[in-house]
Amino acid sequence: MSGDEINPAAVAQAVEDVQGDDRWMSQIWRELFSPLHALNFGIGGDTTCNVLWRLQNGELDNIRPKVRFNWASTGPEREKSTAQGNSFVPVMHFIQIRTPNQYLIGPLQVTVVWVGTNNHEHSAEQVAGGILAIAQLLTSRLPKTKVVVLGLLARGDGPNPLREKNAAVNGFLRSWLPRLGQAQFLDVGAGFVHSDGTISTRDMFDFLHLTAAGYRAIAKPLSDLLLQILDETPEEKRASLV
């Protein structure tokens, strides 16, 4: 993913120029998700519990965008001290600028959920259960809305227990989510771990949070899926959705 194995002659110029370049971060959201009228409710450090709380306490109440992202971006644990909570979500600020009022244009069609890597106190099975609970909450509150759950990414410089745990969470989700009907699992982590087991800081600047290059790599398969889902909902059906 860092570009080493790619033929430079077959790569568009812009791909080479992403390291530290804010234009790409904003461009990813602007080009791929903004046209889908998306809102982002990510908070750094959130666990499944935090996301569940937020969804149960108002975040689903007033808005009906076409696509909403509920992702808890990765960050240090919060229980260490309430004064902490530094979060590394470079992409988040682009979303906070938007107000819900701009998006009273149509019913919510897709929710993207990305959470679980911060659940340090929980086993893989518990974490998967927490994510499933979020998906269940969404499908019960918004029965016509599809849910896309993103797989947890690998993390850390080299192999470590958290990678195994995140992979195990993904394994549970792969088998559990289809049973919900309206929910599906999407693995966007392919390619981040190199053959020697390392992750490059060009993809994850602290071996956890994505750089612009890292975000672009995951945004493409995600936006493809979202477009596909949005296309599947015919115009007439969209008009009758509440």
């Binding site: 370049d21 902490q84 590394f88 988040m92 340090h120 993390r155 080299g158 470590n160 227990p161 602290d206």
Partner: protein, 223 residues
Amino acid sequence: MSSEDANPAATPTPGVDTQGDGRWMSLHNHFVSNSKDKEPDVLFVGDSLVQLLYQFEVWQDLFSPLHALNFGVGGDATQHVLWRLSNGELGHISPKVVVLWVGTNNHGHTAEQICGGIMAIVQLIKDKLPKAYTLVLGVLPRGKMPNPLRERNAQVNKLVQEAVSSLPHASLLNVDPGFVHSDGSISHQDLYDYLHLTPQGYQAVCQPLHAHLKGLLEKQAEN
């Protein structure tokens, strides 16, 4: 007995891996090995506000041309930066200016202790890089509305300003362009989570910082 013994903010302390993937040490090792073939004129070191700066366009526009390296680690407090600089991160480089931005994560420490931590870093840099100039950036206000951490950070800046005033090799630069509005609030358009800077926030901070840095580098060149 030196005061550093009693001040946890001034006692070199490595980051503790509480999550299970050893990323703090990985990052430290990455910085040490990454510096081996670089010759930066400027070194930025500190916490997430330094680290994230590298991810935005403003780094490429303003600081890359100055041949800057970035050794920011999210979550770091003064004692962590002190440990990193004592354990290899200054081993292979001789920057002319070190930009130090740290202090907001020193939870549980008093403003005096945090100032002591910052000054310990300033002293360490002087010991390891006798010709370098250290530019300490003022700690920013945080939180949506007035709160004790804002007061603590303001007091840190005041104490550091006093401490460096007699030093020829260091100074404090206030980079807060006025993030706190008249009603005491901070806008998420500047600090998206009332702690970390948006691109707009970084622009407001970095323009004057860049100008000041260029002036310092020119002066260093004359010496």
